[in-house]
Amino acid sequence: MPNVVTANRLLDGIVVYLAADGSWTEDIGCARLAETEEETKALEAEAAKAVAERLVVAVYPMAVVLRDGAVDPLSVRERIRAAHRTTLTKDWYDVPL
């Protein structure tokens, strides 16, 4: 399973992901995927630098899968984080969030 690295931005706490160009993005779809353990380690090393530079806090890698080309963060918790909002839909039963 590929991994992405996620964190919260230091200044406002918003959920972000390490992107392919080395920036931090709010869009999980733009997150850089690490396919191997080495690649994940490289992402984490890059994230550690961002922590030292005070861009982000609370960094961790998480497993995702690709479904129809879209990144699915697997757990309910991570889907809620990736959505950047609370689940206010009335039809939440039917939406496997």
Binding site: G13, V15, R54
Partner: protein, 551 residues
């Protein structure tokens, strides 16, 4: 209500300046996150799932219109236009930016508010009967004692690093509306053998992973000894409470491990040894604090009001609101009005900035400049003339705040859950909304009668699920949200921890399970029996059978 003196103002402003500097140092890299975290937590600032969350203390749930308006302004200017009232009578903003927090704290200080000790292993916001100073069944107003404890516990040097957080609640009325049995220390004002009021003291209650009902440590404590006696309880806990295991560090574990008799003996021994040297509250200071809580000058008025009586007959929805959300007052011709934050379809306990402003207006015009928050996440106008009830109702109704469900099934306690909280394992808000939808019909809630339904999204039990007549606990089972249901809890004088009724339910099955439980209660109840009484008489068997098909 209490007003800051020069010392209070200076102290709170100093704290704001201190935190402003700490944030600056964090942003300049002079503090790491590990160094900064305990500092921000001491100021009520958490990092949650989506953003920072700021928890603002509302001491014993009392708010002035000016304070409510300032909270509304903060919500609008620095958050997303709404806040969440909590089971500690506090307010949480869910989307604040770290860089804005010093300015928010400064805005709070302007209206005599702060976030000190809303987190951390210290004495937290002292809670109280939300009808304090108004309730018809009150022996004595607990608020001055809450204020005394607030001042005494703020930055108390001996008790700033307790093994774990510490919660105190005080009730001065016959009925317990502050859940004192579920607190580290619960105080009930009672009349003593000499005819003077004092405190009945309970210790070791709590929710969380290991729920306990508090036990009586002292049947009567004279008022003048309150601080020295509480110090002794805290000292014994501070010395002997476990610090090796977060889950076993609360005082309830110590009390139950030692046994209440041994714990009491230790406290009494400490008290005998230290009370002579302890600084009890000077009489002048006590009188000064008491004077802020003088009852508003309400002259008795006629108990009956023609407009109210007329409307009651012609409008069943008004009659329902009158019956449940209008509570008796100690002065004839007055009432306390509960503003329900539980309209079906809304997040329980949330209020928009506009609604806060609106409640402030009502408090100013109808309730002697006072509003309250209760631990079941509603707002209260404590002092309303009965002749104003129709007007108040009309205004509330226009704002969607006249739902007549106080202490009925729709008046659920619900924690933020996995929609917001970093600790949560499951969502609670959507479940609460679905249950509210299922039981939307006021006639059905009326038929069911008083019922406390409490829900938490994790074992930490911020949503008080253990004390719900029906309790729902969200857990994570292999990546799926699962909900355990417990029955028979009570937060009142007959406090009890609920019993888990059987295997948990998936989210979509929870409303039907609650429906089944309610139907079983209705089928089994005797005349006049509420849910709890029926549960206590018939036991778990009929409920298990209805839910799982086996007795």
């Amino acid at each position: 209500m209490y007003r800051y003196d020069e010392f209070d103002h200076a102290f709170v402003h100093e704290r704001v300046a201190q935190f402003r500097e700490q944030v600056e140092r964090r942003l300049l890299g002079k503090l790491t996150e590990d160094e900064f975290r305990p500092l921000r937590l001491r100021n009520g600032l958490y990092l949650q799932l989506h953003a920072y969350m700021l928890r603002i203390a509302i001491p014993y749930g009392v708010l002035s219109p000016r304070q409510l308006r300032q909270l509304a302004m903060i919500g609008r200017r620095w958050d997303r236009g709404y806040g969440h009232f909590t089971t500690r009578q506090n307010l949480q903003f869910n989307w604040v930016k770290l860089v804005d927090v010093p300015d928010i704290l400064s805005a709070l200080a302007e209206v005599e508010m702060h976030c000190i000790q809303t987190s951390g292993n210290c004495v937290r916001n002292v809670t109280a009967d939300p009808f304090a100073g108004a309730a018809h069944d009150e022996l004595e107003d607990p608020r001055p004692w809450c204020e005394i404890l607030r001042q005494w516990s703020t930055l108390h040097p001996e008790f700033s690093w307790l093994p774990r957080k510490f919660k105190i609640a005080i009730s001065g009325a016959a009925e317990d509306r502050a859940a004192i049995a579920f607190h580290d220390i619960g105080l009930k004002i009672v009349r003593g053998p000499d005819g003077k009021n004092g405190f009945r003291v309970f210790v070791g209650g709590g929710m969380g992973r290991t729920p306990y009902v508090g036990q009586e440590i002292r049947p009567f404590l004279a008022k003048e000894h309150l601080l020295s006696y509480i110090e002794s309880i805290l000292r014994v806990y501070n010395l002997h409470g476990r610090r090796d295991n977060l889950n076993k560090a609360r005082i309830k574990i110590l009390v139950n491990q030692l046994g209440i008799d041994k714990f009491r003996a230790d406290v009494e021994a400490d008290w005998e040894a230290t009370r002579k040297d302890a600084i009890d509250l000077p009489q002048d200071e006590r009188r000064r604090i008491m004077s802020y809580f003088a009852p508003p000058n309400l002259s008795p008025r006629p108990i009956r009001d023609d407009a109210v009586d007329q409307r009651r007959i012609t409008d069943p929805v008004f009659a329902n609101w009158l019956k449940h959300n209008v509570r008796p007052h100690q002065v004839p011709g007055y009432a306390s009005v509960v503003i329900s934050l539980k309209e079906p379809g809304r997040t329980p306990g949330d209020a928009s900035s506009d609604q806060m402003d609106f409640a402030a207006d009502l408090a100013e015009r109808y309730s002697r400049n006072e509003a309250r928050v209760n631990y079941t996440q509603n707002l209260i106008l404590p002092h309303v003339a009965r002749s104003d009830l129709v007007s108040v109702y009309e205004e509330l109704k226009a704002e969607g705040l006249a739902t007549g469900n106080y202490d009925l099934l729709g008046d659920m306690i619900c924690c933020p859950g996995l929609d917001y909280c970093n600790l949560a394992n499951a969502r609670s808000i959507p479940i609460a909304k679905e249950i509210a939808k299922r039981f939307e019909d006021p006639a059905r809630q009326e038929l069911i009668g008083p019922l406390r339904l409490n829900m938490s999204g994790c074992i930490n039990a911020c949503g008080h699920h253990h004390s719900g007549n029906i309790g729902i606990l969200g857990v994570d089972k292999k990546g799926t949200e699962l909900y355990q249901i417990s029955l028979g809890g009570s937060p009142k004088d007959d406090a009890a921890v609920g019993t888990i009724i059987g295997p948990g339910f998936r989210a979509e099955a929870v409303p039907q399970a609650i429906d089944t439980i309610i139907s079983t209660y209705l089928a089994n109840r005797n005349d006049g029996e509420d849910f709890l009484a029926t549960w206590r008489r018939v036991g778990a068997a009929p409920f298990k059978e209805a839910l799982y098909g086996v007795a």
